[in-house]
C-alpha cells in the first residue's frame, strides 16, 4: 500500500516536472477478454464531465438488489447476472444513467450534472440556502465551469456563463475585468461588492474557488444594504468534505498567446506618396523648388515625387556623405559628454513593421495543486497555484503565486471552528499601459515606417529625432527600457469563526476577518536619446502602499422545521473598518544606469515624495426571515440598517426587501403536466439597496495646501515656492445620503422533460437620490463640487438561462448546451433640476465624444451626423455653411444641419447641430456553452456575443487623419477622396480628402463611430480521459488542448471590438489603442490521485 502511494507520488512529481508535452504513455485500448460465463464481473469508474471521479455513486443492477458504491477514486467492481443486465448509476446532483452490460467487462461512466439541482446548496448573504427555497435572483457558477477557461482573472471566466451580468474584459497580462450586474446602476462607481468567504474584498486565484454566486436582485442583495446596489459577488473557496479520503489534484496547462493582425499601415514608399498627395490636395506647388511655397519634406525632398533618403540623420544625406562618417557618431547626450548626440541613422527603405518588432508569441503557464480531505469532524483543503501570463508585447508579463488553507473542525457537537487563509502575490511587469495614446498599441502606429529599429550602431534604438519624423517614441525602446518596471501586490485575507450550536436549530456565529494588502511599484523612465521629445535625466519612482480592512460579524441563526412549516431566521451585526495609506517618491539623474544602482538614495535631483491616507467605516444591523410552507410557498423578508462614516448628518440608512416564491408544480392541479413539467417556480421580489461610494469625505468643506496649485514664491527667490498658500479645495455637503436603488424582479425557474432547465427574470431597477457633483457656473470658482442627491436612473431588462443536457448510446455520449442571454436598458431619468443639463466626457486631444443627459443612457456618444463627403465644390457651396463655411469644399465631410439655437434646422452647421449619435451599450449579450462527451473524449466550447454596441475609433484620428506626424493607414492613401487610386471615382472614397490641415475632418461625428457587435469563440477545448486507457490507475488523467479566442466575427475596423470600462465610466467606448484580445493555444493535463 505504502509502496503504491510512493509510486503515485513519484509519478505525480514526474508529471509536474516534465510537463505534459514530455509525457509519453502508451495508450491501452482497455478491451478485456470476453467472458462467456453467465455471471460476470464488471469494473469501471464513474467520473463527472470534467473527468473528476465521483465517489459514492450508487450502482444498481436494474430490477435486483444487487449493487455497489464507487470509491474515492470513482472506481467500483460488481458481479452481474447476465449480459442483458442494465446498470443504473445514480448520485445526487447528477443525471441517472443506464447502461446495458452486453459484452463489456469494463464500464466507465461519465455522469452529467443534474440540470435540476434543486437540492443544491447556494451561498447567500451570511448563510446558505437550498436552491429550491430561494426567492431572490441568484446565479451560481461552480469550479468545473470556471476551470474551462484559462483566463487569469476569475471574473473574466464568467463571461458568457451567467445571465444578467455584462463583463468587459481588459487584455493586458493578468488582465482585469469590469463586471456590471444588470446594467449601470449609477453614474458613480458601478462595480459590485465582492465578498470572499464572508469578508469584503480579498484576492483569490480561480483555482481557489468552489463557487461564485451573484446576487442579482434586491431580495438577495438587501442583506448587504448600503453597499449592494451594484450587486454582490460572493466567492466561496474550496474546502474538503467530511469523511473524504485525501485527494490530490494537479493541473498543469501551458501554451502561448499569439499576437493578431495590426492596422494596415503605409510603408516607407507609400508614406512619401501620401505626403505628396496631401500637399497637392492642399494646393501647394510641387516640384518647383524656386517657389518659396514649394512643398518640401526634410527627408523626402522637394522634387516632383518623393525620394526616399539613404540617411535620416544626417537629414537626407546620401550614402558615403562625409556628414555620415561613423567617426562622428555620438550617442551620449550633453549631460554625459558635454556635446549633443549625433545618431547617424539610415532610413528603412522598405518600412519598419513596429507591431511585428514589438510583439511575440507569449508563453502562458498555469500550475495548480489541491489537496483536500476530511475526517468525521474535520475537513481541510490546501490549494497552491502558480500562473505566468506573458504579454504579447515583449518584456511584459504577469505572475501570480497563491496559496490557501481552509480548515473546519467540530471538536464538540456544540461548537464548530474554522479558518480560511489565502495569500496571493502578483507581479506585473513591463510596459502595460492600456487604452491610451501612450499604450504600446499606440506607439506601434505612432512611429513612422521610415525609422529603423536601431541606428547605425546596431545597439542604440533609433527614434523620431531626425527632421520630419514626428514626436513618437520607439515602442521597442519603451518595452526594453521598461522591462524592469513592476507593480507587485500582496494580499493576505482570511477569517476565523466559531459557531456555537446553542440548542437544536439555534446557533450563534462570530466571524472575524481581515483583508490586508500591500503593494510596491517601480517605474524607471530612461531617456530615449533618439526621440524628438527626449528628456535630460533618467528617472526613477517608487510607490508603496498598504491597506487593511477588518470585518467583525456576529449572527444568530435559527431554523425550525415542524410539520409543513420551515422557518429560518438570521439576525446579525457587522462592523467594518477600512484604512489605507500609500507613499510615492521619485528622483532623477543617476550616475549609473544599472537597475540595481537606481534607488531613491542614489538619484541626484528632483527629489519628490508624497503620501495619501484614507479611512472609512460602517456599522450595520441586519436580519432575514424565510418561511416555507409545504415546500410550496415561500416568503422572505430582509432588513439592514447601515451607518456609514462617509455621510455627515444622515449617517444611517434602512434597506428592506421582501420576496415570495411559489412552486407551482407542487400544486395538485398541476398533476396533469407532471409528465413533462418537472418543476415550475415563480419568484417575485422587491427591495431597496444602497450605494455609498462617493469618496470618504464628501461632508467636509476643505481648505488644502498645494505646492503647485496654491503656493507662490512671493519673496522672488528661484528654487523655492516660498509662501505656503491655501485654496478652498472642496465644497462640503453634510446633508447628503446614499443612493438608493429600488429593485423589482419577477422570475420563473422551470425544469422540463427532466433535461431542460429554464430561468427567466424580468427586472426593473430605479436608482434615486443618485449622487452627482453637479456642475456649477465657473464664476463660483473651481473647488471640487460636493456630491448631492439629485439624479435618477432606471435600468430594465431581462435575463435568461436555458440549459439542456442529456446522454445517448447508453451514456457513452453525453451532450449539453447552455445559453445565457442578458439585456439591459439604461436610462438616466434625471440629472439635475435643469432639464437641459448634461455631463461631458473627457476631451481626447481636445475632442469630446461622450455625454450623459436625462432621457439617455449612461453614457452615449455625441457629435455631428456625417452624411458622407461633398463630391464637388458646387455641391459644397450650395450646402448650408459648415463651421462658418470652412467645411464647404469638395472632399470634406457633409455634416447634417439638424438644429439651430431654437431646435430647428437653421441653414448653418455649427455646435448646435451635434446630437446623440450612438451608444456603447449592447442591445444584448449572449453566451452559448456546448459540450459533447464520447467515451473518454470531450469537446466543449463557449461562444460569446455582444450585439448593438458601438465604439468610437479614436485611433483613426492618428492613422487616418493628422493627429501628430506618425504612421498612417493604408486607407489614407488609397481610399481618401481624390486619391489617384480611386481612378477618378470619388464615390468609392471611404474618407475625406487628405490635406496638410485636416482639423475640420476631426470633429466628433458618426464618421468615427463604428458598430462593434461581435461573436467570439471564447474557448474550444478538446480533451481525452487517458485514465480510461490506464484502467483507471489514477483518479484522473485528463489531457486536453484548448484554444481561446479562436475567431471573432465583427465589422469593427479596430484591433478589438471589446473594450474594458475605464475608471471614468463616462468615457466608456473610446478606443484609444487598447491591447487586443489575442488567440491563445494551450495544452493541459489534469491529474489526480
Amino acid at each position: 500500500m505504502t509502496k503504491k502511494i510512493m509510486r503515485n507520488v513519484l509519478l505525480l512529481i514526474m508529471v509536474v516536472t516534465f510537463i505534459p508535452f514530455t509525457l509519453a504513455l502508451t495508450p491501452d485500448d482497455g478491451n478485456g477478454t470476453t467472458n462467456n460465463l453467465q455471471q460476470k464481473q464488471i469494473s469501471g469508474r464513474v467520473v463527472d464531465a470534467s473527468g473528476n471521479p465521483i465517489p459514492g455513486v450508487n450502482i444498481l443492477e436494474k430490477g435486483t438488489l444487487n449493487g455497489a458504491i464507487s470509491d474515492a477514486n470513482g472506481r467500483y467492481t460488481m458481479t452481474v447476472t447476465s449480459a442483458s443486465s442494465v446498470l443504473t448509476f445514480s448520485f445526487i446532483g447528477y443525471v441517472t444513467q443506464e447502461v446495458t452490460v452486453g459484452a463489456q467487462t469494463a464500464i466507465d461512466v461519465t455522469l452529467a450534472e443534474a440540470v435540476s439541482a434543486l437540492d443544491e446548496i447556494v451561498v447567500v448573504g451570511y448563510s446558505t440556502q437550498a436552491r429550491k427555497s430561494l426567492t431572490g435572483s441568484v446565479s451560481t457558477v461552480d469550479a468545473a465551469t470556471l476551470a474551462e477557461s484559462a483566463a487569469v482573472n476569475p471574473i473574466t471566466r464568467l463571461q458568457g456563463k451567467v445571465a444578467g451580468v455584462t463583463i468587459f474584459n481588459q487584455h493586458t497580462p493578468g488582465e482585469g475585468s469590469s463586471i456590471r450586474i444588470r446594467g449601470m446602476t449609477t453614474i458613480n462607481d458601478s462595480n459590485p461588492l465582492y465578498v470572499v468567504d464572508g469578508i469584503p474584498g480579498g484576492s483569490y486565484s480561480p483555482n481557489d474557488v468552489e463557487s461564485i454566486t451573484i446576487l442579482k436582485d434586491a431580495a438577495a442583495q438587501s442583506i448587504y444594504g448600503a453597499r449592494a446596489a451594484n450587486g454582490v459577488v460572493l466567492i466561496t473557496t474550496k474546502s474538503g468534505k467530511k469523511n473524504q479520503k485525501v485527494t490530490m489534484n494537479v493541473n498543469v496547462r501551458q501554451g502561448f498567446t499569439k499576437p493578431g493582425k495590426f492596422y494596415d499601415m503605409l510603408n516607407t514608399r507609400e508614406y512619401g506618396e501620401m505626403l505628396w498627395l496631401e500637399a497637392k490636395n492642399f494646393g501647394l506647388p510641387i516640384g518647383v523648388p524656386t517657389d518659396p511655397k514649394n512643398f518640401t519634406h526634410p527627408q523626402y525632398g522637394n522634387g516632383a515625387v518623393p525620394v526616399i533618403p539613404y540617411y535620416l540623420f544626417p537629414t537626407k544625406a546620401p550614402e558615403n556623405d562625409p556628414l555620415a562618417d561613423p567617426a562622428l557618431y555620438d550617442n551620449l547626450m550633453s549631460v554625459r559628454d558635454g556635446d549633443d548626440t549625433y545618431l547617424i541613422t539610415k532610413a528603412n527603405q522598405i518600412g519598419t513593421d513596429w507591431w511585428g518588432e514589438s510583439t511575440r508569441n507569449a508563453p502562458f503557464k498555469e500550475y495548480t495543486l489541491d489537496i483536500a480531505g476530511g475526517s468525521a469532524n474535520t475537513t481541510y483543503a490546501f490549494l497552491l497555484g502558480y500562473t505566468s501570463d506573458q504579454g504579447i508585447f515583449k518584456w511584459t508579463g504577469y505572475e501570480r503565486y497563491s496559496f490557501r488553507s481552509n480548515i473546519n473542525t467540530s471538536p464538540a457537537k456544540w461548537i464548530d471552528l474554522g479558518s480560511s487563509i489565502g495569500v496571493v502575490y502578483t507581479d506585473d511587469h513591463g510596459h502595460q499601459t492600456d487604452n491610451a495614446e501612450s499604450s504600446m498599441v499606440s506607439w506601434c502606429y505612432r512611429l513612422q515606417p521610415i525609422i529603423p529599429v536601431y541606428d547605425i550602431s546596431g545597439t542604440t534604438y533609433a527614434g523620431s529625432r531626425p527632421s520630419g519624423m514626428g514626436n513618437a517614441q520607439n515602442p521597442v525602446f519603451l518595452l526594453d527600457s521598461n522591462k524592469d518596471d513592476f507593480s507587485r501586490y500582496m494580499n493576505i485575507s482570511g477569517n476565523v469563526y466559531a459557531r456555537f450550536n446553542i440548542i437544536k436549530g439555534l446557533s450563534f456565529k462570530t466571524l472575524l476577518g481581515i483583508n490586508q494588502y500591500s503593494y510596491q511599484s517601480r517605474d524607471l523612465t530612461f531617456v530615449e536619446v533618439a526621440a524628438a521629445e527626449r528628456g535630460t535625466y533618467d528617472g526613477f519612482s517608487k510607490g508603496a502602499g498598504t491597506g487593511l480592512n477588518w470585518t467583525w460579524t456576529n449572527t444568530i441563526e435559527y431554523g425550525l422545521v415542524t410539520g409543513q412549516h420551515n422557518i429560518r431566521a438570521i439576525l446579525g451585526s457587522e462592523a467594518y473598518d477600512n484604512t489605507s495609506t500609500s507613499v510615492s517618491a521619485s528622483r532623477a539623474e543617476y550616475s549609473f544606469l544599472d537597475v540595481n544602482y537606481m534607488t531613491l538614495n542614489t538619484g541626484l535631483r528632483s527629489i519628490a515624495n508624497s503620501d495619501n491616507n484614507s479611512s472609512y467605516s460602517l456599522f450595520s444591523l441586519f436580519g432575514r426571515v424565510n418561511y416555507t410552507y409545504a415546500d410550496k410557498y415561500m416568503i422572505e423578508g430582509v432588513v439592514r440598517r447601515d451607518g456609514s462614516s462617509r455621510f455627515g448628518d444622515e449617517k444611517f440608512g434602512f434597506f428592506p426587501a421582501a420576496s415570495l416564491g411559489w412552486r407551482i408544480t407542487q400544486e395538485d392541479f398541476m398533476a396533469s403536466t407532471s409528465d413533462w413539467l418537472d418543476e415550475l417556480k415563480l419568484r417575485i421580489g422587491y427591495g431597496v439597496v444602497g450605494n455609498d461610494r462617493m469618496g470618504n469625505y464628501n461632508s467636509y468643506t476643505q481648505f488644502a495646501y498645494h505646492e503647485g496649485d496654491a503656493s507662490y514664491g512671493m519673496n522672488g527667490a528661484n528654487g523655492a515656492i516660498s509662501n505656503v498658500g491655501f485654496r478652498q479645495s472642496t465644497f462640503g455637503n453634510t446633508s447628503v445620503r446614499w443612493e438608493t436603488t429600488n429593485t423589482f424582479n419577477i422570475g420563473i425557474d422551470a425544469t422540463l422533460i427532466k433535461n431542460l432547465t429554464l430561468t427567466v427574470d424580468v427586472w426593473q431597477r430605479k436608482t434615486k437620490d443618485m449622487l452627482h457633483q453637479q456642475q456649477l457656473p465657473l464664476v463660483l470658482g473651481t473647488a471640487t463640487r460636493p456630491s448631492i442627491n439629485i439624479a435618477e436612473m432606471k435600468n430594465t431588462g431581462f435575463d435568461l438561462e436555458l440549459g439542456y443536457s442529456n446522454n445517448a448510446l447508453n451514456g457513452d455520449l453525453t451532450y449539453s448546451a447552455d445559453l445565457v442571454f442578458s439585456r439591459y436598458k439604461n436610462e438616466i431619468t434625471k440629472l439635475t433640476d435643469v432639464a437641459s443639463y448634461f455631463i461631458q466626457g473627457s476631451a481626447f486631444r481636445e475632442k469630446i465624444y461622450t455625454r450623459a443627459a436625462a432621457g439617455r443612457a449612461w453614457p452615449e456618444y455625441y457629435g455631428y451626423i456625417s452624411d458622407g463627403i461633398f463630391n464637388s465644390d458646387t455641391e459644397a457651396t450650395d450646402y448650408a455653411p459648415i463651421f462658418g463655411g470652412v467645411n464647404n469644399k469638395a472632399g470634406y465631410f457633409k455634416y447634417r444641419d439638424i438644429s439651430g439655437p431654437d431646435g430647428k434646422p437653421d441653414g448653418k452647421v455649427d455646435a448646435s447641430d451635434r446630437t446623440w449619435i450612438g451608444s456603447p451599450h449592447p442591445d444584448f449579450t449572449a453566451g452559448l456553452s456546448l459540450s459533447l462527451g464520447f467515451r473518454g473524449l470531450s469537446i466543449m466550447t463557449t461562444l460569446y456575443s455582444s450585439i448593438g454596441n458601438e465604439l468610437v475609433n479614436y485611433v483613426s484620428r492618428y492613422i487616418d487623419y493628422t493627429q501628430f506626424a506618425g504612421g498612417r493607414s493604408h486607407r489614407r492613401l488609397y481610399e481618401s477622396w481624390g486619391s489617384p487610386y480611386l481612378k477618378g471615382d470619388n464615390t468609392k472614397a471611404t474618407m475625406p480628402i487628405i490635406t496638410s490641415n485636416d482639423t475640420p475632418h476631426q470633429e466628433p461625428s458618426t464618421a468615427f463611430l463604428e458598430d462593434a457587435s461581435f461573436l467570439r469563440m471564447k474557448t474550444l477545448r478538446i480533451g481525452y480521459d487517458f485514465n480510461r486507457l490506464l484502467n483507471n490507475y489514477f483518479s484522473t488523467l485528463q489531457l486536453y488542448f484548448q484554444a481561446s479566442n479562436l475567431f471573432t466575427l465583427t465589422k469593427y475596423s479596430g484591433l478589438d471590438p471589446e473594450l474594458s470600462i475605464p475608471s471614468s465610466a463616462i468615457n466608456m467606448g473610446v478606443d484609444q489603442g487598447a491591447w487586443p484580445t489575442s488567440q491563445q493555444f494551450i495544452f493541459g493535463i489534469a491529474f489526480g490521485l
Binding site: G470, A710, F964, A965, N997
Partner: protein, 589 residues
Amino acid sequence: MKKIFRFLSFSILMASLLAIYSCSEEFLTKEPPGVAAGSVIQTPAGIEALIIGVYERMQNANQSMFGAAMTSDWTYSGGCSDDAYKGTDVGDQSNFNLLERYEALPNNPYLENRWNACYDGVARANVALTFLWETQKGNSKLTDARAKQAEAELKFLRAWFHFQANKIFEKIPYIKTPTELGDVKPEEVQNTDPGWTGIEEDLQYAITNLGTAKYNNEKGRPTKYSAEAVLAQAHMYQKDYTAAKPLLDDIINNGGFSLAPEYMHNFDMTHENNSESIFELQCSTTATAHSAVNGSGCNFHQKGLASCGGWGFYSPSLNLFEAFQTTAEGLPQLNPALRDHLATDMGVGSGVDFTPTDHTMDPRVDFIIARRGVDFLGWGIHPGNDWIREQSNGGPFMTKIFMHRKDEQSLNLYQTGFYNGKNYRTYRYASILLWRAECAVVDNDLELARTYVNMIRNRAKTSTPVMGFCSSTKNLGSNPDVDPTKPAANYKIEPYPGPGLYPFDTKENALKAVQEETRLEFACQNHRFFDLRRWGILATTLNAYIAHDLTFRGFMKDAVFNADQDDYWPLPQTQIDLQKGILTQDPGY
C-alpha cells in the same frame, strides 16, 4: 458544566456585540487627513495663506499652457496676431488652429479654459475677502492696517482677473463677494458690459490703500504704482488717454523706476525684480512643483541640446522677423510694403549650407527670435531644421524669451527644465514710457513722444547684442566655427532724429512710430493682438499679414480676419448653458 460554559461564551459575545453598537457614533467618524477646516482658516495665518492662494492663480501654473494662457496671453495676443504661429505640427492642439485662423466657435474648449482660469482667480479673491471680513469681526484678527492693505491686495487681484477676462470676452460679469452683491447671487450677475466700472473701482481702492512699500518687503506684492499701471492700461484700452496720463506721470515722476541697462535683464533669471519691474509674476521651481507662466519646454525647440523635451509651440512669424530689419539709418521700416525680403532657412536641411541674412537688424531680433546660425541662450548655435518640429507648419523660428539660458539651468529644480522659474515682467517701465508717448502723440506733444521712444531705442542700442559670429552653419554634431568677439549678426539701431523730423513730424507718422516701437519692444509678449484692437487697425494689419504669410507657408490659406466678428472671442457655450438667461453670447462673434 458544559451548558454553563456554553451560556457564558454566548453571553460574552453578545455583550461585545452590544459594546460595538453603543460606540458606533464615534466609530463612524472619519475626518479627512491633510486638510484644514474653516476654523483654522479664520485666523491671521489662515487669511495670509488664502491670499497667497489667490496670487498663485495669476500664473495658474497647471492650467496656463494653451487655452487659458493666463498672463502670457500667448495664444490670444501672440498666436492670433501677426507676431507668431502656433508652431509644432498641424494636428497638435488643433483647437489652436481654429483660433489662429479666426474660426473659433463657442464650443472651442480653449475659451472655457480661459474663463475657468480668470473666474477661479476671482472666486479665490472673493473667498479670501469674505474670510478676511469675518476674521476681523473676531478676536484673533489682523491689524487694522494690514487688513486694509490685504483688502487692497485682494481687490487689485480681483480686478486683475476680470481684466484678463475682458481682454478675451467683450462683455463679462463682474463678480464680487455675496456681501457686496447683496440680493444678487454671484451666479446671477449678468454680462452687460466689459466690467470696466468694477475693474476701475477695485483698482482705485488698491491705489488708495496699497502704499508705496510692498507688504513684508516681499517682491511679489503690488504697490500703489502697480495698481496705477494696471489702471492706466485699462484706460488705454478704453482710449481714455486723459485718465491714463496722470497715472503714467505719477509712475514716471514718483515711482523711482528706470529702464534696466540691458534689454535681456527683463528676460533672464538673474535680474528679476529689477529697476524696470513695476509688477512681476514670481515664478520658481522646486523638485516637486513649478510655478511657470508658460513652460519653457512648451515653446522650446524640440530636439536641441537642452533636451528638456520641448514641444515647439509659439513660433515667431516671418512677418515679425522682417519687421526687425532696420534702415541704413538704424531705424525701423514703418511701411511694411517697403520692407526687404530676408532669407530664412525654410525648407533648408541642417546639413545643407545656409547663410543668414546680413541685412541691418534691430538687435532685439535675436533677444526674442531664435533662428539658425545664432547662439541660442548658450545652448549652442541654432542648427535650423534639426531643432524645428515641423517647418512647413510652424516656420523656421522659435521664441527665445521664455527659455532660460544654459547657465541658468541649475536654477531650475523641477525635472529637466521644461518648466523654468523665470519670472514674467507683466508691467515694466518700458510700457509706461510707450503708453505715455502714445498719450503725448494724442496731445500732439510729438517731442515728448520722441523722447520716450528714444529712451527705449537707446536702451536697445546700448544693450550688449547677442555675440558669436558663426561662419559654418552645417550641423556636424560638433561645435561650429564661431568668433565670440563679433556680434552674431549685422546689428544697427539708432534713436529717431529730431526734433521735428520724420516720423515725429506729423501726428500720424509719430503714432506709427510709437506703435511700431511697441511691437518691437514687446514682440511675443502679452500685447500685440490687444494693441492692434485698441488702435483700431486689427483688420487691416491682420489681413495684410495673412496675404504676406501665404507667400511663405500654406497654413493661413482661405483664412479671413473679420473685424466685427473676430475682435473678441465667443463666450464658452458651457457657461452660457449653465447660466441661461444670465450670460448673453457676444452677438458679433
